[in-house]
């Protein structure tokens, strides 16, 4: 009974905290309360769950109250370097200031190493970050990472640093230095599997792993830790069976569990005490303790206990993406194993045993994928459908070759660098062969914006539980098939709503102006077609893709009718791996952009002189000025300019400056007689537009945005 109470308290606490982190509206709280009423059968449990939920929500709302960082946006800081990790072509440094706050900064120059005391000038990244649809705000990311701000150490700035004694992190940094001497692929694998930095793997491999749904194998996590712990456990148990401990009454398994823990601690250290590894170690530790003292504690309870304690001490962890994924994946794993064990399948021969193990693997993997599905779609915008099958096929490579050998190489490095290098290069060679295995790479991308899909996911359980309750109330004694009725009804509801949303999303037109200082660009949606107008240079590909591709996925983009780049660089390859691209146009040197870059029914682009264009879209005329010195009057309804101009005449009343102060993305919705213009911030502030965008304000305006009347003047 105590277990049931604890279960109710822990789940309610975590859910309440989660909802408060995302400042979820009270409607959501009400929704979860409703589900809890269905879920907990006893009145006492119900009361306890509801009370905990409300209290944790209130606590979280107070704790996560969004306050701007107190630190200045540009200043000289003094502090101690905690960790240094590779970050694209530079480094990412965690600095603890003398005042106690921790900040994260990126540096493309300077030789920072852990333990150093540094005095340096930093500029906040906040100025560059706009508020974009379906992307967390900067402050939210800062809170989730437990830092007070994201900063940049610019090339022109200077730093004065001095090494201050021994720092344990410097041992890990030594491994980073070692990895720098490895070939590209070996370096990427070593940094990912040993040190927890997965960005350095060649992009083609990263992309392939993402599409195969195997990216999680690469990121250091409880998985790596579990693998090493499992191997050590088996190894220790093997030797213990041949030791005098056999004569003690205590089970050898428990000894093996305890003796293997230091091995897991090694992974923890090598990963730089990465959050995911710490959590996994903690979980493992609690599991071992529970096995030693209370042998029958269910693993599910241990998981909840771990998450409960971790979040109690560090509430912002609830917003950490890695925490969310590892918690849900473990939850899925434990639940799936429970379900499987209920089937009580007993193999009669080796063939059956192999079959059952394979089926169990597939079932567990599928179940985990299903549990993670909404979070994956909400966070990264797509879902690798073949993940369960690929996991089954690929896990052996990761569990028995890549992870253990990489860890072995790291340990051997301290004895002999040459052997360590050799092992890692061998791992890279095997990895190259492994990547030739034709794994499935089917992606699911929602055909409509992801918020709408999540709405369906949220309503379906309600439909299911309501129907179940009705059946119970009516005292129907149904057969097994009859009991499936609520499920079938929920499924039917899912299919119908999905088709309905898809149909209505296709009819909508909108323009989103992404006011990014580095990559200002425009996304157009004309019915079921999308187009992009951007100013992209080849050196910006990586950060641009990392930031914007998930947003496009979440807006339901799977193909672009056309992509127009206002620079010489042909962006076809940037998009072709992830989207279907039908037309690409670039602004060639000394040539005007061709007018018909796209199907004219999609939009029309009319080039004026001196880098100014008219964009005709659904009766709305936009003036686009991507260059710095235009001097033409622009009689359009809305003008989109690179930055504010002093001597610009006849500017339309609505002007969007791409290089302005930090602002939200702007959304334009052209309607029959007028267009609506509003910012992402305004959208987030409107409950209906937040959850039902773009249906609100396309079909239902809800008083959001500014009305822009069309005027069709003669062009100059």
């Amino acid at each position: 009974m105590i277990k049931a109470y604890f279960f109710a308290v822990a789940t309610s606490f975590l859910i309440g905290l989660y909802l408060s982190f995302y400042s979820a509206h009270l409607v959501f709280l009400f929704y979860v309360l409703l589900l809890q009423l269905f879920f907990f059968p006893q009145n006492k449990l119900k009361a306890l769950a509801v009370l905990t939920l409300v209290l944790s929500f209130m606590f979280g709302s107070f704790y996560f109250k969004e306050e701007k960082s107190k630190l200045p946006t540009k200043a000289q800081f003094f502090g101690e370097v905690l960790t240094v990790e590779p970050y694209f072509e530079g480094k990412r440094v965690l600095l603890r200031l003398t005042s106690g706050e921790v900040i994260l900064f990126t540096a493309y120059k300077g030789d920072f190493s852990p333990g150093m005391k540094c005095l340096l000038s930093l500029t906040s990244k906040e100025m560059k970050e706009g508020l974009n649809p379906f992307r967390p705000a900067t402050r939210e990311l800062e809170m989730a990472q437990g830092v007070e701000g994201f900063y940049e150490f610019k090339r022109q700035d200077e730093a004065i640093c001095k090494t201050d004694g021994f720092n344990i992190e410097s041992i890990r940094y030594e491994l980073f230095r070692f990895s720098e001497e490895l070939s590209g692929l070996a370096k990427g694998l070593f940094q990912a599997l040993v040190l927890g930095v997965e960005t350095q793997l060649p992009s083609e491999y990263l992309e392939a792993l993402k599409k195969q749904g195997l990216y999680h194998q690469l990121a250091i996590s409880g998985f790596n830790l579990g693998i090493l712990y499992g191997i050590l456990y088996k190894f220790t148990l093997f030797w213990l069976r041949r030791s005098p401990l056999v004569f003690t009454r205590y089970p050898l398994q428990i000894y093996a569990m305890i003796f293997s823990l230091p091995g897991a601690l090694v992974v923890l250290f090598l990963s730089g005490f990465a959050g995911s590894a710490v959590r996994a170690f903690f979980f493992l530790f609690v599991l071992v303790l529970a096995k030693v003292f209370f042998r029958n504690t269910p693993s599910l309870l241990i998981l909840l206990l771990t998450a409960f304690i971790l979040c109690l001490f560090e509430p912002s962890l609830i917003g950490n993406l890695s925490f969310q994924f590892s918690f849900l994946a473990t939850l899925g794993l434990l639940l799936a194993n429970q379900f499987w064990q209920r089937l009580n399948l007993k193999p009669n021969n080796l063939w059956q045993k192999t079959l059952f193990i394979s089926l169990q693997g597939l079932f567990v993997s599928s179940f985990i994928s299903l549990v993670l599905l909404p979070l994956l779609l909400y966070r990264i915008g797509y879902y690798a459908i073949a993940t369960p099958i690929n996991n089954l096929l690929a896990s052996a490579f990761w569990s028995f070759i890549f992870i253990p050998l990489s860890l072995l190489s790291a340990l051997i490095y301290f004895l002999d660098e040459t052997i360590a290098k050799y092992i890692m290069e061998c791992v890279a060679t095997i990895f190259k062969w492994y990547m030739k295995i034709p794994f499935f790479d089917w992606l699911y991308i929602s055909p409509f914006s992801v918020n709408l899909l999540l709405i369906i996911f949220l309503i379906c359980p309600l439909v299911y539980f309501t129907n179940q309750k009705i059946i119970q109330k009516l005292n129907f004694h149904l057969s097994f098939y009859g009991k499936c009725f609520p499920f079938l009804l929920a499924f039917l509801f899912f299919i119908l709503t999905y088709c309905f949303f898809d149909k209505f999303y296709q009819k909508i037109d909108f323009i989103i102006v992404f006011k990014d200082k580095n990559f200002p660009h425009i996304l157009l949606k004309n019915q079921d077609k999308f187009a992009l107008l951007l100013n992209l240079k080849s050196e910006d590909i990586k950060p641009y893709k990392a930031k914007y591709f998930p947003i496009y996925y979440k807006l339901g983009v799977s193909s672009f009718e056309c992509v127009v780049n206002f620079s010489r660089f042909n962006p076809y390859r940037v998009f072709s791996k992830d989207f279907e691209v039908r037309n690409v146009s670039t602004l060639e040197e000394k040539k005007y952009l061709d007018i018909e870059v796209c199907d004219p029914r999609m939009f029309e682009l009319i080039e004026l002189k001196e880098g100014a264009y008219f964009l005709e879209f659904k009766g709305l005329t936009l003036a686009l000025v991507f260059h710095r010195k235009p001097s033409l009057p622009l009689p359009a309804e809305v003008s989109i300019l690179l930055h504010k101009l002093k001597d610009m005449k006849d500017l339309p009343t609505e002007s969007i400056y791409l290089e302005g102060e930090r602002q939200s993305a702007l959304i334009l919705i052209p309607k029959e007689k007028y267009a609506l213009l509003f910012s992402e911030k305004e959208r987030r502030n409107s409950f209906l537009a937040y959850f039902l965008f773009p249906f609100v304000p396309y079909y239902l305006e809800d008083n959001i945005g500014k009305i822009i009347n069309y005027h069709h003047e003669t062009l100059p």
């Binding site: 080849s538 010489r568 962006p571 390859r573 037309n583 040539k591």
Partner: protein, 233 residues
């Protein structure tokens, strides 16, 4: 055009761009520095249309007669047409009319004819000097030892805008030899640059079989046929 063929062309282009990207990465060059020229000799207009829709705007033809028909039929596209084959003097008039750039200027008589035709059309045509870098008797092109003199002579042709050099190195499977010729071309290019001035920016070298080496050695235009279009009709 069948969807399968369109997909093949897309895939070809994608693979090519990937290889170009990697070569640029190895050479520490930006992607914008290298232009891909689709060598469309013997290729259908449909194929050109597909590749154009993917952002390829530069195409090269080897025969004036074949090109004339294609250029007229594809006039609705904003293609930059280059002439990359051996140009006969009697075809100079049409070449000037249809192409923006001639890659194969290899003799003074041709320069005179091109100048005459360009003047009559009131046009300034871009030219690249074809260099016979391997001293091969079967190939056209100016020998490197005569190059400086030839460049000086071209100064007397105001309607010819000399923008760079082009070469077709001797066919060989030995990568080192190919690299050697491309390095030689790069050195020649650097030597000639001060003689011509600012506009001298193009080094057209590298085809389907050796474009990666060419990029690593400084090519600014690579001429790709088979790898892009597949085998010729």
């Amino acid at each position: 055009m069948s969807k399968a063929l369109v997909d093949v062309l897309r895939k070809n282009y994608e693979n090519l761009l990937e290889r170009v990207e990697k070569a640029c990465l190895r050479a520490g060059r930006s992607l914008e520095e290298v232009k891909i020229l689709g060598a469309s000799k013997g290729q259908s207009e449909e194929k050109i249309r597909v590749l154009y829709s993917l952002g390829l705007k530069l195409f090269g033809e080897n025969y004036v007669q074949e090109a004339e028909k294609k250029i007229k039929n594809l006039a609705d596209l904003d293609i930059d047409w280059h002439f990359i084959g051996r140009l006969q003097t009697n075809k100079a008039k049409k070449a000037v009319a249809f192409f923006s750039t001639i890659h194969s200027l290899d003799r003074l008589s041709l320069a005179e004819e091109l100048e005459k035709r360009a003047r009559s059309l009131n046009k300034r045509i871009n030219v690249l000097i074809e260099v016979n870098i391997g001293h091969e008797p079967t190939k056209a092109g100016v020998f490197e030892e005569n190059l400086e003199e030839f460049v000086k002579e071209l100064k007397g042709f105001p309607n010819l805008n000399l923008i760079g050099l082009m070469c077709l190195p001797p066919l060989t499977d030995d990568e080192r030899k190919t690299r050697f010729y491309f390095q030689k071309m790069r050195n020649l290019f650097e030597r000639i640059k001060p003689l011509v001035g600012e506009g001298f920016t193009q080094l057209s070298m590298g085809t389907s079989s050796d474009f990666e080496i060419a990029i690593e050695e400084g090519a600014t235009i690579i001429r790709i046929g088979t790898l892009l279009f597949g085998p010729r009709m």
